[in-house]
């Protein structure tokens, strides 16, 4: 039998405090006031709860994860990896720490659906498939031969978009836009890449939150001339801007995915075209009480990554990132679960009307 002393409890409490400080952000940890940046900011900015809480503020955990579910034979024996990813999400759900929203990319393989179906999420939105409508642009991929009658109007795709949005909360509306045929380059054109929007009714927030998931054109792995690839990426960015202008008018918006913006030229264009706040920049802004995960380094959430999350506030709500973590780094039998890490952000969404009270996790 373990004999407990006061000293033991204090020591264990200390360990617990450290674990929580560097781990997931819990509701009671998230302060409303902005603390001065600590010396360790950027690796594990830690602050104690301070100040009054926000009435009706909601914490929302959003995970974006490119699971590298490429079709065989490009990648084989994927099912055990998908099962492990699902298992991790189940374990987290059992512990009450699951991301309420999961954005998956490259879920091309049919077995990837087990992540959607075996992790307890009540609502699943699957992105456009191979046959879903995508339009012929002015060039490329919709074959325009010199004979119009054997030219194909619809771009020919070998796989669907590979996008999923899993949600604990009701998805009240869903729309997508498959990129036109002139908005891709190289091998990426084989999949029906798209923008996927889920309008999610998050408890505690009067208006639905717009959640967008997308996967943009890759760079070197596209195996196409760099100018062409860059232009395709810029067109996808323009299309996301158009999509948001058209659909995301008054709601808080969270945009996540694999945007392939590690290259500064791409990132800069993206930021100029889209009036979004980079969740990592917001988190790492001096004075913010936002933490990075235990093994998460600054560059891995800022610019040295293709996985990103952004947000846009709405008239009635403000949003801040309170915790960011790169996760799913474990290996299964020596194999990485994916060539990407998960990119998980905890957002605090607060009504602008008042600034005192309590905050809670969004709950189903």
């Amino acid at each position: 039998m373990v004999k407990l002393t006061v000293r033991d409890i204090l020591c264990a409490g200390g360990l617990l405090w450290i674990g929580q400080a560097q781990g997931a952000a819990f509701a009671s940890d998230i302060p409303d006031t902005v603390d001065a940046p600590s010396a360790t900011q950027g690796t594990a900015a830690t602050t104690a709860a301070s100040g009054a809480n926000t009435p009706g503020a909601v914490l929302l955990n959003v995970l974006s994860y490119n699971i590298q579910g490429l079709p065989s034979p490009i990648k084989s024996n994927k099912t055990p990896l998908f099962e492990r990813i699902a298992e991790i999400l189940r374990e987290r759900r059992a512990a009450g720490r699951q991301p309420e929203i999961v954005l998956l990319q490259e879920a091309f393989d049919a077995d990837a659906s087990l992540i959607a179906e075996n992790t307890g999420y009540g609502y699943v939105l699957k992105g456009p498939g191979r046959k879903a409508q995508s339009e012929k642009g002015s060039v490329h991929w919709a074959m325009q031969t010199r004979k119009s009658y054997v030219s194909f109007n619809d771009p020919q795709k070998f796989t669907g978009s590979g996008l999923y949005i899993l949600s604990d909360f009701p998805i009240v509306e869903a729309q997508h836009k498959a990129f036109d045929s002139d908005m891709c380059a190289g091998i990426d054109c084989l999949s029906n890449k798209a923008i996927l929007l889920a309008r999610v009714q998050v408890p505690g927030i009067s208006a639905p939150v717009d959640i967008i998931n997308s996967h943009f054109n890759s760079r070197s792995s596209a195996k196409a001339p760099s100018r062409h690839v860059l232009r395709a990426h810029q067109r996808q960015t323009d299309t996301l801007a158009w999509f948001m202008d058209k659909l995301c008018v008054n709601a808080p918006v969270i945009v996540g995915g694999d945007f392939n913006t590690r290259q500064s030229e791409r990132y800069d264009y993206f930021r100029k075209a889209l009036p979004l706040v980079d969740a990592a920049e917001d988190c790492l802004t001096p004075g913010r009480s936002c933490r990075l995960g235990t093994d998460t380094v600054r560059e891995a959430v800022l610019y040295n990554t293709n996985d990103k999350q952004f947000f846009r506030e709405a008239a009635g709500y403000s949003i801040v990132a309170t915790h960011i973590e790169r996760n799913f780094s474990e290996k299964l039998d020596g194999r990485e679960l994916s060539d990407h890490l998960g990119y998980e952000v905890t957002y605090k969404i607060m009504p602008r009307a008042s600034q005192t009270g309590t905050q809670e996790w969004a709950a189903p």
């Binding site: 407990l4 020591c11 264990a12 059992a94 060039v139 010199r146 009658y149 604990d168 062409h228």
Partner: protein, 275 residues
């Protein structure tokens, strides 16, 4: 020390579990079974296709006097391509309808007016008796593509005019897009004629006043390679060009009508307006 650390960790886990329980009470841990699948709808597209789509062009064409002729000449030529609802089409001397349009297959019926030997036969050294009228041909076509490769086949049967044989054309090519405004399409193809078709265009009937009888067999009579290019000048304007070299196979080239040069050339350059 190790034992103490173990105890701390055990206690840490216990406290941590208790802490999570507080949060977990707001989470549905009992959920099981299939999730609700939501279906998304495509956003209204701004690139709606008009019912009528096409291009009108004008350019200079260089072509042989007729199939198998060694003489070439230059002419002004209109390039007219019109489709209605992506189904009915007129493309220069061809017309038809797309009956099936799937992701990897387009097929339908097609017809064309096939020029016979030209009227100015004196230039070719032929007598007027060797003239072949224009022929209405009806047939079928199919096309498929894989990535930027494409393959198309057309089969025609002469139904009126100068010949009643069958002719098949098969082409395969690749689309190069050097940039968003410039496309290059190299292709290769073969032409296959039935015995009747070959006899009509290349055969010499017995009793011909000038040539000995010649009865070519059916089969491949022409292989060709073509390079076409499109340079976008403006949103609705293109500069188009193509060069095509054909090589006649023996069954055609040994015809007395196909003399002088086994290799024939065609070329076109013009400006096209898209609508």
């Amino acid at each position: 020390m190790g034992c103490a650390l173990t105890r701390y960790i055990l206690l840490l886990l216990a406290l941590s579990g208790a802490s999570r329980t507080v949060l977990a009470q707001e989470v549905d841990m009992t959920r099981s079974g299939q999730p609700v699948y939501i279906e998304s709808v495509p956003v209204d597209d701004e690139r709606r296709k008009d019912a009528w789509v096409g291009q009108l062009g004008l350019g200079l064409i260089m072509s042989p006097d007729f199939l198998g002729s060694g003489a070439h000449e230059f002419n002004l030529r209109a390039d007219v391509r019109v489709t209605y609802k992506d189904t009915f089409f007129v493309e220069n001397n061809k017309f038809g309808a797309v009956l099936t349009s799937r992701r990897f297959l387009r097929a339908g019926v097609i017809g064309r007016i096939q020029g016979g030997r030209r009227d100015d036969l004196i230039r070719g050294g032929l007598s007027e008796a060797d003239d072949i009228d224009d022929t209405l041909e009806l047939g079928v076509f199919a096309g498929t593509s894989l990535y930027k490769l494409f393959l198309s086949a057309e089969a025609y049967w002469g139904v009126s005019g100068g010949q009643s044989g069958m002719n098949v054309e098969v082409e395969a090519g690749y689309l190069f897009e050097l940039n968003s405004e410039f496309k290059l399409v190299p292709l290769v193809g073969v032409s296959i004629g039935s015995r009747d078709y070959m006899q009509a265009y290349f055969g010499v009937p017995s009793g011909h006043t000038q040539y000995a009888p010649y009865n070519p067999g059916g089969g491949v009579y022409d292989v060709h390679a073509e390079l076409s290019l499109e340079q976008r000048l403006a949103k609705n304007w293109l500069l188009k060009g193509s060069v095509r070299l054909s090589k006649l196979k023996d069954n055609a080239f040994e015809s007395p009508f196909a003399r002088e040069d086994r290799v024939q050339a065609r070329a076109f350059a013009g400006v096209v307006w898209l609508f």
